[in-house]
């Protein structure tokens, strides 16, 4: 790159300059090829040797804010931690199963199906706090009468069968559904509530007011910019958005008390999952989350910590 940059320095572009730049580049190319080969072979042979001491965390965007803050602290103490949120909870568990990461963040409990998929892996989930999936609608819809929805009503909505908020006592405004993409913890919690274990949701009707979203941030963005929209979204992500409101589920409002007591049906524990009981850096990381400071971070992000749940 340096040699290429040198070319522009001279105002007059005469041939010798160019040639020189090019010659350097060709040599660089040859050198680079050799270097890459060395690196590649080193990497291949080093694979069976010792892994570098990086703690790899990936999964749910719901757990991510807590993990990110804790990782910041640990990094300042010299630990290497990488965090990724591609694929959500199920993505995290998948990658843990494939040995690509050390800790999976999950916003849904482990299912039998998860354990069955990775028979060689001993999935150990450590609860770090609790969140609830809120059913989020636009404030205008909420204020004009849609304050609570039943399980049957929710099923109608998320199957794409509901046309207007009028059906649910709201304004005559089309219902626009943002559903979570497959694998997101939020979606699995909702599906489990709507369809019990095992049952899978029926295919959605193509009514044109149904789109898919990924992480919590994207869900919030799309809700904020779409009239008449509804989506399942971690309650913690609703705070501070004046356009959005939570509705009660089966007349149970989403309150900390109702989450703790288990009355609110869409409450969900947040987990850090490891292969076997956590060791080394993973142990340090999880201990940090469970410590007093870590638990403070949990509440800062709008979740209930273990003390609030009465587990301390």
């Amino acid at each position: 790159m340096m040699s290429a940059a040198r070319i522009t320095e001279g105002k007059s572009m005469n041939q010798p300059h160019l040639w020189q730049a090019g010659r350097g580049l060709t040599r660089l190319a040859a050198l680079g090829a050799a270097l890459l080969l060395c690196l590649a072979s080193a990497a291949c042979t080093g694979k069976d040797g010792k892994r570098r001491n990086v703690l790899r965390v990936s999964g749910s965007t719901t757990v991510n804010p807590v993990a990110a803050d804790v990782a910041d602290v640990l990094r300042s103490q010299g630990m290497e931690v990488t965090i990724d949120t591609q694929g959500g909870s199920a993505g995290g568990i998948s990658q843990l199963g494939a040995g690509q990461i050390d800790i999976a963040m999950s916003s849904k409990p482990l299912a039998d199906a998860d354990r069955k998929r990775f028979p060689g892996i001993n999935l150990v989930a450590t609860e770090i706090g609790r969140d609830a999936v809120g059913i989020v609608v636009r404030k205008s819809v909420h204020d004009s009468g849609v304050t609570s929805l039943t399980r049957t009503q929710l099923a109608r909505i998320f199957e794409g069968k509901a046309a207007s908020w009028k059906e649910f006592g709201g304004p005559d405004l089309p219902v626009y559904v943002y559903d979570k993409e497959p694998g997101r913890g939020t979606r699995e919690v909702l599906d489990k509530y709507l369809y019990e274990e095992a049952a899978t949701p029926p295919p959605v009707q193509p009514n044109g007011r149904y789109a898919i979203v990924g992480g919590n941030e994207e869900t919030r963005t799309k809700l904020r910019t779409t009239e008449g929209s509804v989506a399942p979204l971690s309650a913690a992500f609703v705070e501070g958005s004046k356009e959005l409101a939570l509705v009660a589920v089966d007349d149970v409002p989403l309150t900390p008390q109702n989450i703790v007591s288990g009355k609110y049906p869409l409450a969900r524990p947040l987990f850090l999952i490891t292969n076997g009981s956590p060791q080394g850096n993973a142990r340090t990381f999880i201990d940090r989350v469970l410590s007093a400071e870590g638990q403070k971070v949990v509440t800062q992000h709008g979740y209930l910590n273990l003390a609030q749940l009465g587990k301390r």
Partner: protein, 559 residues
């Protein structure tokens, strides 16, 4: 590696090809893999994009080359090509921030996510391809053709329509086909505005038409979503996803080869529909010229508009602190590590592309027999046409799973290198083709061995092309998002400089913007996104600006 990926992928589980193309329901949980809705989405989005981009692009190319004085052409062409230099993630960002709102206001699309929104984003992205290739085709038509037409009393638009266009038609069609290839392969920009809804395909014509204003899914957005991560790396789900990638790649490779072959050039012996003299020729001429000029103004205004929007919102990028501080939290701080990561990836990819591209070009241009050379050229073109999301998945499978590297910057280097290599190879091959044969013959007559000829004649002659191709290739690679998402970058926690190879991801500017764009309703996030996007554009612009004098020199040399 790519072939290994696709073959092993497709064969890793049973794929019901028949159901794949006939069933309209996609539901991995129920093992239903019908791709019709995605094929429909891909077709609608790409063809709509072409329907917008080809007429405007052709008209703009005609306005640019036929109606603009030569001394202004370069400037105007640069303005149009600026649209091509904008990385796709920035188009995605523009789509999320501006187009979604516009869609809901103009077309009453609630939320704005729709096939039409994706098509509009794509049409802008495809436009510069159509214009550039068409202008090149027009430049190949000798001026004597225009003069002969005009000397026989034809008006300006008649000269264009009857004398110039028939001879440039092949090249201009190639521009449209390359545009289609680009549209089919685009992932990130479409991903952010299409809604990604799988929904079963409507069964009535009316329903199909309505679906254009509704959220949908394309083949690339399906592959860009979470499913490759959930599918594991074997079984029907994974095999089906690989099959989608393979089909997409084949279609695009076919289109790329079609555009490069002379097949589009074939001319009929005589004009099938002879033109007729019309009434009001003067007025028709003025109207035609005005509309061609308007068409030319359109991409230029778009380019200027995008520049204004980005600069206006990208103010954080003007603060040196933004360049020099690391990111903090989800959307705070600067982008220091992302800059370092991107530069590292681009630099190492550059080294790889220079080595691979030069080798490939020398093999094609000098060492290989014509037959093998033709075959290798085809392979290079195909490589250049591979959609970047397929590269990303191949990298995820090959480096992440098969080699067990986890996410690694070196995987990113390889993938971005693969993006840049064909551009380098084609630039150098073209330059070798321009080498006067006498020079080679003289050198051989002096008794030089082949390696000596290559070293003393071929290499010096092709160096400018190597530098130019490399810079252009890297400008393209620097903006790539999709290959990095799966193989090389993470959300946070990685620095710009990795400490090793295995499990050594980096952060990068395009993926950073991609993450922030999803949080677009948050003022802090969107501010940071624009800032990072602006930094990325500045880096790409620098690469292009550095390449420009060299390009200009090359053009002069050719005359």
């Amino acid at each position: 590696m790519l072939c290994a990926f696709l073959i092993s992928g497709v064969t890793s589980g049973p794929v019901d090809w028949w159901a794949l193309v006939t069933s309209g329901v996609w539901s991995p949980q129920q093992s239903l893999f019908g791709v019709l809705p995605m094929i429909w989405g891909t077709a609608v989005v790409s063809l709509l994009a072409l329907a917008v981009a080809v007429p405007i692009g052709w008209a703009a190319a005609l306005g640019l080359h036929e109606l603009t004085p030569a001394r202004h052409r370069r400037t105007l062409r640069m303005a149009v090509e600026m649209l091509a230099a904008v990385p796709s993630i920035v188009y995605g960002l523009l789509g999320v921030v501006l187009l979604r709102g516009l869609m809901s206001r103009l077309f009453g699309v609630t939320g704005g996510d729709s096939l039409l929104a994706a098509a509009l984003v794509l049409s802008v992205m495809v436009l510069p391809t159509v214009v550039s290739v068409s202008v090149d085709a027009l430049a190949d038509v000798p001026d004597s053709v225009r003069e002969t037409g005009a000397a026989l009393g034809l008006s300006r638009v008649e000269v264009i329509g009857s004398a110039v266009f028939p001879q440039a038609r092949g090249g201009m069609l190639a521009g449209a086909v390359l545009g289609l290839a680009r549209a089919l392969g685009e992932t990130v920009a479409v991903f952010l505005v299409i809604g990604r809804a799988d929904g079963p395909l409507a069964s009535t014509v009316n329903g199909l038409l309505r679906s254009i204003l509704q959220p949908g899914q394309t083949l690339t957005t399906k592959l860009g979503g979470p499913e490759p991560l959930l599918a594991g790396t074997s079984g029907t789900h994974w095999a089906t996803l690989c099959a989608l990638g393979a089909v997409l790649m084949c279609v695009i490779a076919g289109l790329t080869l079609l555009a490069q072959s002379r097949r589009l050039d074939r001319r009929g012996g005589r004009t099938r529909f002879p033109p007729r003299a019309r009434r009001h020729r003067g007025a028709r001429d003025r109207l035609g010229v005005a509309s061609l000029r308007t068409a030319l103004a359109l991409p230029i205004l778009l380019a200027v508009g995008i520049a204004v929007v980005v600069l206006e919102r990208g103010t954080p990028a003007l603060d040196p602190g933004f360049w020099a501080t690391p990111a903090a939290g989800a959307s705070g701080g600067g982008v220091r590590d992302q800059i370092i990561g991107t530069l590292l990836l681009v630099a190492t990819a550059g080294v790889m592309a220079a080595a691979a591209g030069l080798t490939l070009a020398l093999l094609i241009g000098e060492y290989a027999t014509p037959r093998v050379a033709g075959w290798m050229r085809t392979a290079t073109l195909t490589l250049g046409g591979i959609p970047s999301i397929v590269l990303g998945l191949a990298g995820f499978w090959f480096f992440g799973s098969a080699l067990g590297w986890g996410k690694s910057w070196l995987a990113g280097t390889f993938l971005l290198g693969l993006v840049a290599t064909p551009i380098v190879a084609l630039a150098v091959t073209a330059q070798i083709g321009r080498l006067p044969r006498e020079r080679l013959e003289t050198a051989r007559a002096l008794g030089l061995r082949r390696s000596q000829v290559v070293r003393s004649v071929l290499l010096p002659y092709t160096r400018p092309a190597l530098v130019t191709g490399l810079l252009l290739g890297l400008a393209r690679a620097a903006g790539e998002t999709a290959p990095l998402l799966f193989a090389a970058t993470v959300f946070s926690g990685a620095g710009g400089m990795p400490a090793g190879v295995v499990d050594a991801p980096v952060v990068s500017l395009p993926t950073h913007v991609f993450n922030l764009a999803q949080d677009a309703a948050d003022p802090a996030a969107i501010r940071a996104a624009w800032g990072a996007a602006t930094v990325l554009i500045i880096i790409i612009a620098l690469l292009l600006i550095v390449s420009m004098p060299i390009r200009r020199r090359l053009e002069k040399e050719r005359v």
